[in-house]
Amino acid sequence: MLKLIRRQLVHEPFRTLLTCIAIGSALAVILLLEGFQTGLYVQLKNVALTRGADLIVTQSGVTNFVASRSLLPQISREVVESIDGVKEAHPITSMPIIYDKPGYRKSPVFFMVYDTGGGPVVIIEGQKASKPRDIVIDKSLAVLYDLNVGDPFIVADFKFNVSGITEHASALFTAFAYISYDDMIDFFFDSDLIGDISNLPLLSFLLVEVKPGADKNTVAAAIEAAEKDADVYFPEQLSKNDVTMGQTLFGPVMGVLIGAGYIIALLVVGMIMFAAVHARLRNYGVMKALGFSNHLLIKGMVIESLVMIVLSFPLGVLLAQLAAMFIEYTVPLYMVPVLEPVVMLRTFIAALILGVIGAYLPYRSIARLDAAIVFRS
């Protein structure tokens, strides 16, 4: 049976190629959607993890790092740094703003205000903020608003200067921009925003560096005991909480989209198997006349379908990776990791199952086939 399938595939190479492209494309769509979903979660996961902290201090009750309004008393830094085992506590403040450049669309941006730690992880162009009013923006903002190093970045009439461009600094469809504490205070005063705020939201989180040899759990417990208004987390825990929040937000939508991707793949496989069966009705007639059972013929169809899936999968991965690279290049706000081993394995197994189901779709055509067809012209 395998030999027959191989011959059929080799006999019409163009058709085999087109079939592989069709199945590969359908699989590429699934991989892309899976990659898009994974990317959303990876972005959320990385925000807390890449801040370079051993422990993260939040306002009591705040369990997320991304998109949370955490407000710590300013004295917290001093309190935390006085605890045995703490090397340094870096303040960081997260502040949502809306960026509106004339002639372009509005975008929400998270200002990440930092002092001695927790700033941009990589700078792909320019440099970190070193002068007053310097700002480091994510690549997605640079692409969307045609911004380069040295360009102005105006928010609420306050002019920042783009000193550097970072990458992979976004989450929840929102890009990050990094500024210094001095500039944040100037921004509040210069743009007249300060008038209605009784307490400046100066401190959202503390990124704690633990002294070498100190036990992190002991230090965390000591911080919680000393600062009643705060909770202490390992970055991994906050990162996990952010991902869980992302799953609550995007899970249902992405589930439906990925489901639609699988339906497309199933229909494509079914369509191909229909075409294959109808093209070979006479052959099947001969085989039935020779005593092949319906079961055996369907088994052949299943094997052929599985072979096609196996042949198409690498092409699907390649197409998905190319599309992902294109998306990340043109819209760097998104991360689309399609080459995640778990996702690839899951998609491959699901595709094989689809192959089996798809092969059964033209079952009726084979079952109803009269062996006498072979004697007709």
Binding site: E12, R15, L18, I21, V29, L32, Q59, S60, G61, T63, A67, S68, R69, L71, P96, I98, R105, K106, P108, A156, F173, T174, S191, D192, L193, G195, D196, I197, S198, N199, D231, N241, T244, M245, T248, L249, P252, V253, G255, V256, L257, A260, G261, I263, I264, L267, V268, G270, M271, F274, A275, H278, A279, A323, I327, T330, V331, L333, Y334, L361
Partner: protein
């Protein structure tokens, strides 16, 4: 040839159906994405729409509620209330952030209601009390359905436990479920006990909105004042544009996939009918008429796919939120316009691929076995 082409296509209705369905689902992938973004965007402005006010007053430099933060001293509401053109004023404290309900973090619009201004409260109650007092909260009934948290249960806003006293309708959204709490609780947690975020102003009959906006800007420092329409438009546009790029990508991907499916169907049909086509060529039919036949098949498959996608969108997609209540989907006819425009080139490209095979058919094939 056109008759032959249609007859061939409809001779295998099951196969035609599967092909058209595959095209339809490719299109639906695009429509679903649009429906999600528009549905969410509609829901993001649901609160603003339901408040039905004339004017919104907010912190200077702010022109949105979605993903924004605004703070105003409470005396500004009093000052606006005293303006002669003002009929009524209401104010809310607002926080856009996660709130823990049933062990999960839900991204929410947390609205702090003061006893003085209760107009900013729920507009459609499912059950219970509408206006929460200190230590109380009113949550969307969809969250109640999803988590089982109901009246009398506890939710956590930051570290503060609040007792659920009411369930509301029309307030759920993935990114902006509306949760009502007391101004006292929210003000305490965000350290803004004497502030509001947004002030709603209604003008007296006969007073023009624009003149009142101008007057408020003159009388009250450091505020931004927007008409209801402008504020809603600003938020809706911000929300819907957040998905603009990914929508364009999905449209491209969905269209490419649809092209490939149509091309494959047309190609495999024509490839199987090589002998008949050879007869046609031997009888003197030109390549042009055969190209037309291929085009005709592609147009039929694409058209059927488009029709099916329209049908499925207005049945399955509309019905989906009943099964998955987290989804807010809005299907509008304008979603189909780009697809309808794209459908014709899809059919042409697909038929060109298929027709390329036909053009190479040798009329001598008719004499082969």
């Amino acid at each position: 040839m056109i008759y032959w082409s249609i007859k061939t296509l409809f001779s295998e209705p099951m196969r035609l159906m599967v092909s058209a369905l595959a095209v339809a689902v490719s299109f639906i992938l695009v429509i679903f994405f649009s429906a999600v973004f528009e549905g969410e965007s509609d829901q993001i402005v649901a609160y603003l729409k339901k408040m039905d006010t004339d004017i919104w007053v907010m912190q200077k430099g702010v022109s949105n509620m979605h993903m924004a933060s605004s703070m105003l001293w409470d005396w500004k509401a009093d000052k606006i209330e005293k303006l002669p053109e003002v009929k009524e004023v209401s104010a809310i404290l607002f926080l856009n952030g996660p709130i823990k309900i049933g062990g999960k973090d839900w991204f929410a619009y947390i609205i702090g209601l003061s006893p003085k201004y209760q107009r900013g409260g729920p507009w459609d109650m499912f059950k219970g009390k509408a206006i929460p007092g200190p230590g109380e909260a009113v949550i969307p009934e969809v969250i109640n359905r999803l988590t089982g948290v109901t009246i009398g249960d506890e939710i956590i806003m930051l570290d503060r436990p609040l007792k659920v006293v009411g369930l509301t309708r029309g307030t759920f959204s993935m990114a902006s479920s509306v949760v009502f709490v007391s101004h006292e609780d929210l003000g305490d947690l965000v350290e803004a006990p004497d502030q509001y975020s947004y002030i709603m102003v209604n003008a007296k009959p006969g007073v023009s909105t624009q003149s009142l906006i101008k007057n408020i800007k003159n009388e009250v420092d450091k505020v931004n004042v927007l008409s209801n329409e402008d504020f809603i438009k600003s938020d809706w546009t911000l929300a819907v544009q957040m998905g603009a790029e990914i929508l364009r990508m999905m449209t491209t991907i969905g269209t490419l996939l649809a092209t490939l499916i149509v091309a494959f169907t047309a190609y495999s049909l024509i490839a199987r009918k090589k002998q008949e086509l050879a007869v046609a060529k031997a009888l003197g039919f030109s390549n042009g008429s055969i190209y037309l036949a291929a085009l005709c098949q592609s147009v039929v498959i694409t058209g059927l796919g488009l029709l099916l996608s329209l049908l499925l969108s207005y049945t399955v997609i509309i019905w989906l939120p009943l099964v998955i209540p987290q989804l807010n989907l809005t299907v509008r006819l304008h979603h189909f316009i780009p697809l309808a425009i794209i459908a014709l080139p899809v059919a042409v490209v697909a038929s060109l691929i298929a027709a390329n095979t036909v053009a190479r058919v040798d009329p001598m094939t008719v004499f082969k076995g």
